[in-house]
């Protein structure tokens, strides 16, 4: 049971964590340098032994601490979650220690977070892209990256040479694209909400 006594005992002697809020579950800010040790403590001594999720948040280029890694741990004994927020100290080349030595499941989660946000996880056994191809030059979930994408060459040069194809920004006119879900099947296809403009005719002001 996560009650006030539990939180008080958890905070005692650990000045590197602080309670952020307890709205839906106990949410703690944690300093990056103490993350591995604290995760070990949560896993071995507090039964939070299931890493549910590891991802990150980009707070925008103006933010003091731009990138924040978010971990969700679950305890099958307490039947509740603990959420850890780890702010990355450097906005230009964000980096925090890898917890894949504590939770092996974090391996691919950290690779995905690196792929999408460009956050480096030091001492990770195999930190390379997992979704995009290895040579992809951008981090797609960063705030400054456009949803449509940026033009780059296709991953395979020989295929690009034969087909003339490359990675183009996707056409965004009329988006978002939704399926109405009712009516006749032929009319329920996903389609643009605003069909008043196309690649040929300009968007009306």
């Amino acid at each position: 049971m996560i009650d006030d006594d539990f939180v008080k005992a958890l905070l005692e002697g650990r000045d590197f964590i602080s309670v952020k809020h307890r709205v839906d579950c106990l949410t703690l800010d944690c300093l990056p340098d103490s993350l591995i040790g604290f995760c070990k403590h949560l896993r071995d001594d507090q039964t939070f032994d299931l890493l549910v999720d590891l991802t990150a948040v980009d707070h925008g280029e103006e933010a003091d601490s731009r990138f924040q890694v978010v971990l969700h741990l679950y305890s099958l004994i307490h039947k509740s979650y603990v959420r850890l927020h780890v702010a990355c100290p450097d906005n230009q080349s964000p980096s925090i220690p890898s917890i894949s030595s504590v939770f092996p499941a974090a391996n691919w989660h950290e690779r995905e977070t690196f792929d999408m946000f460009g956050i480096k996880f030091s001492d990770h056994p195999n930190l390379k892209r997992i979704l995009m191809w290895d040579d992809y030059p951008y981090f797609p979930l960063r705030k400054e990256f456009p949803l449509a994408g940026i033009e780059v060459p296709l991953p395979a040069a020989d295929v690009a040479e034969v087909t003339g194809a490359d990675v183009d920004p996707a056409p965004m006119m009329g988006g978002p694209f939704v399926a109405s879900g009712n009516g006749r099947m032929s009319e329920a296809e996903p389609r643009a909400k605003d069909e008043s403009w196309t690649e040929e005719s300009e968007k009306p002001l």
Binding site: M132, L147, V159
Partner: protein
């Protein structure tokens, strides 16, 4: 006496049929299309349904799904083609022997569908030549069967003899 027989009459015509080479070749080809299921997303589930007993693609002579490109002649691209996967689609296409056809099944394979995104190729026709597009998200098995019958119609009108001596348009990717 009025004969009710229609078609080939062995008594009148003997054991000889006169026809055009194109007709024979196309007739053979279109009734034994061997599809290669390039299942990339949920469309592949509908593709499997078309092969199962309720819709039964074998009624049209194309039930021999081969998972090796070297044994098949019609690639059914069923699903979302990401830029990372586009390379693989093209390589598999190039490993298929001529003559070969491509069916883009569903909105994603045809145009990128609802994925207007940095990761998704906006139509598989950017990397392979598509013969038939099927709309739907995903298309029902009937739509796929209709597309395959349209493909049969297309195969039936090809100049197959002329194409035998034609040089391939691209050397392809190995």
């Amino acid at each position: 006496m009025i004969s009710n027989e229609v078609g080939y009459n062995s008594k009148v015509e003997g054991e000889v049929i006169v026809t055009r080479a194109d007709s024979v070749i196309n007739w053979i080809r279109k009734h034994s299309v061997w599809p290669m299921p390039m299942g990339l997303a949920c469309c592949a589930i509908e593709l499997m349904a078309s092969a199962a007993s309720r819709y039964d693609i074998s009624r049209f002579g194309m039930e021999v799904m081969r998972f090796s490109p070297r044994q098949s002649d019609c690639m059914i691209v069923a699903g979302t083609v990401t830029y990372k996967m586009a390379e693989v689609v093209r390589r598999i296409y190039d490993q298929m022997g001529d003559p070969k056809w491509v069916v883009a099944m569903g909105a994603c394979a045809s145009t990128g569908g609802m994925y207007r995104s940095y990761a998704v190729m906006q139509g598989v026709d950017n990397v392979v030549p598509v013969d038939v597009y099927v709309s739907g998200c995903p298309p029902r098995p009937e739509a796929l069967l209709d597309a395959m019958m349209k493909l049969q119609g297309k195969i039936g009108n090809e100049s197959s003899v002329k194409n035998l001596s034609k040089k391939p348009e691209s050397t392809g990717v190995s």
